[in-house]
């Protein structure tokens, strides 16, 4: 029997390819292009090879921004994931309160990012914000616009407030998909609350938690709007995370080559982290059906 080749399928794929090319590949290639060239005014370009890359990788400033970025991302992951799971475990599995909880949880996710930044900026102002006044009132010397530690504290609390809900919703979706029989069997087997969590709930949440951690990792690693509105990267450079630094280089200093090289490195870091994490988490998923 000979196989029939039918190339008509290409007509269905081509529009998608064209779309992806215009919104992803072409802009990306432009950045690649900039990253290996020196640009002057009047559209004059010189090929520079890997100069911008080595410059970015060797720069103290990039390393410092990357360090701050890593600290920020892993801090919020360490808080949001356990906290999200804990809240999801406390939510009711059925009844009228389910929808109330879900709506309350979804609220922070519905607020535009710059609005979140603005809310927290005003909320935390030491002289007129509620949070700032209360903290100062009970004896803390709190001023997020002047003290780096306070700026970090505010930034992390804001991100936890904004994004823990996402982890909660995903973990909750994983939890309610566990059939009752598992809990009943655990009762029959005399399992403790901890054993139920460790051997039933956590394994069943593994896939959704993997997605939650991936999303939160990528999102927080690329965070821009909220710190831009809240602190603008300050005081000094204390909260200048990667994307804020990148914008400063690209639009503040107009160093197109350097900014392009930095963008590519930035992109590769996110890609590699996500890929390694996903591969490790899904290592044993292949064997048999679940």
């Amino acid at each position: 029997m000979t196989k029939t080749w039918n190339n008509k399928a290409w007509f269905f794929v081509l529009p998608v390819l064209a779309l992806v090319a215009f919104n992803a590949l072409i802009p990306l290639m432009t950045v690649v292009n900039y990253s290996v060239q020196e640009s002057f005014g009047g559209n004059v370009f010189f090929f520079e090879g890997t100069k911008w890359y080595s410059q970015v990788l060797n720069s103290e400033r990039f390393r410092a921004a990357l360090g701050r970025q890593l600290i920020f991302t892993f801090t919020i992951l360490a808080i949001e994931v356990p906290l999200g799971v804990l809240i999801a475990l406390c939510m009711p599995r059925r009844g009228v309160w389910v929808s109330v909880c879900l709506v309350l949880m979804a609220l922070p996710l519905l607020i535009p990012w710059n609005v979140v930044g603005a809310i927290w900026n005003i909320f935390a102002l030491p002289d007129l914000g509620l949070l700032g006044r209360v903290l100062n009132g009970i004896g803390f010397d709190y001023n997020f616009t002047r003290q780096a530690g306070d700026a970090w504290f505010t930034l992390i609390v804001m991100d936890v407030w904004h994004w823990t809900s996402l982890v909660v919703l995903l973990a909750y979706a994983g939890l309610i998909s566990i059939p009752d029989a598992y809990y009943q069997a655990a009762k029959i087997d005399g399992a403790s609350r901890w054993a139920v969590f460790r051997h039933i709930q956590l394994p069943k949440m593994k896939r959704v938690l993997t997605i939650a951690i991936l999303l939160r990792f990528m999102d927080s690693f690329m965070i821009y709007t909220e710190p831009f509105v809240l602190t603008g990267g300050g005081p000094g450079n204390s909260t200048t995370v990667l994307s804020i630094d990148l914008v400063k280089i690209a639009l503040g200093q107009f160093d197109l080559g350097q900014a392009a090289a930095m963008s590519i490195i930035y992109f590769l870091i996110v890609l590699v982290f996500s890929w390694v994490f996903y591969t490790v988490m899904m290592r044993n998923e292949g064997e048999g059906q679940s």
């Binding site: 029989a181 069997a185 087997d189 005399g190 069943k204």
Partner: protein, 357 residues
């Protein structure tokens, strides 16, 4: 192992049940004897799983008491009752190996390590799982997973009873038969008290010594498979057991005769205090076709290989008859009923026929 007594158990899923229809279990008084193999048989929604969950303690009955060997356990937790239960869908702990799955109930109860090892190995051998002991449970087939679930019940040698809630639903037909006979074998060897919930009559009749038939929250008959077939105590049992189910004809009882339309059917005995409307129940196996009796029309014939089912119309009433594969159909068939196959029902309940005086 223990004897389980249910005393006036009633259960409703509503917070304040008022009318009879609010109860999922209307009234259950029954004893499961120590070492018996019981099947709870009934259609979906008849309360059989509710009853099972009440025995295991996953549900607290709205009313009534539950006794294990005479001890009141109504208010004890599932763990304190020491019951094993196997569910419809195989429940295994995905992240653990088969060995760890079996060890889990023992570990939770703080059994010493070497004692766990001894018992788990014994159970692995018993359930033929030794070969996969070190495999992770998640990759196994449904029937192996169900064996693990069963093994988790068997591993505790002191359980009071093992309860099965339609455990073979997701198992392939040829494995079903094998698992069922293994269960029988295990039961004969160790004599657990076993209660097996199913809606499949074949499963119930082949598994159990005693079948408890439930219908709309009540036990309608308790008996051996033979009794359920020959003398259904309730029209529902007649309909539910047997394929096709029992024929039921509306009749008027007059002494030792039952009047069916224009015809009179002789009863094998008289019924005391019964006059007027009743139902005559005859299994298709006891319907005879011949030259005498009630005139019938043949509607259709289903050939089932070794036997055939003939659907007849008698006085506007549909009637099934089972014939051997070689038995011929008379051209103008007339129907009679074998006297030993005649049962009489008043308000769905069977009334005993006394030998004619």
């Amino acid at each position: 192992m223990a004897r389980i007594d249910l005393s006036a158990i009633r259960h409703s899923y509503m917070p304040r049940p008022s009318v009879e229809a609010d109860y999922a279990l209307k009234q259950v008084d029954h004893s499961f004897l120590d070492g018996g193999a019981y099947a709870l048989l009934g259609p979906s929604g008849c309360g059989k799983t509710t009853l099972l969950n009440i025995i295991s303690g996953l549900l607290h009955p709205s009313e009534g008491r539950l006794l294990f060997d005479g001890r009141d356990v109504t208010d004890l937790t599932t763990q304190e009752r020491n019951i094993a239960q196997v569910f419809q869908f195989p429940v295994v702990y995905d992240t653990m190996t088969v060995y760890e799955n079996l060890a889990f109930p023992l570990r939770n109860r703080g059994v010493p390590r070497d004692e766990i090892d001894r018992q788990v190995r014994e159970t692995l051998a018993l359930t033929d799982l030794a070969a996969v002991a070190q495999r992770r449970a998640r990759g196994l087939t449904a029937d192996l997973k169900q064996k693990i679930a069963l093994g988790r019940g068997l591993v505790r040698s002191d359980v009071n009873a093992i309860l099965f809630d339609e455990p073979l639903t997701v198992i392939d037909p040829h494995m079903k038969w094998q698992l069922r006979s293994e269960l029988r074998k295990l039961h004969r060897r160790f004599g657990f008290t076993m209660v097996y919930v199913t809606h499949d009559q074949t499963e119930a009749l082949t598994f159990a010594d005693t079948v408890v038939v439930m219908y709309e929250g009540e036990i309608v008959q308790i008996g051996t498979p033979d009794e359920l077939f020959e003398r259904p105590a309730h029209t529902f049992v007649g309909y539910f057991i047997g394929s096709p189910g029992m024929n039921l004809l509306p009749v008027e009882v007059e002494g030792v005769q039952a009047r069916f339309g224009a015809h009179a059917i002789a009863l094998p005995g008289a019924v005391r205090d019964v006059k007027g409307p009743a139902e005559l129940g005859v299994r298709p196996e006891y319907v005879r076709l011949g030259a005498a009796g009630l005139p019938a029309q043949v509607r259709r014939v289903e050939d089932l290989g070794r036997r055939k089912v003939v659907w007849l119309l008698v006085e506007g009433q549909e009637l099934a008859a089972v014939l051997g594969e070689d038995e011929g159909l008379p051209t103008e068939p007339r129907v009679t009923f074998a006297p030993e196959g005649i049962n009489l029902y008043v308000a769905s309940r069977r009334r005993a026929l006394e030998a004619a005086a």
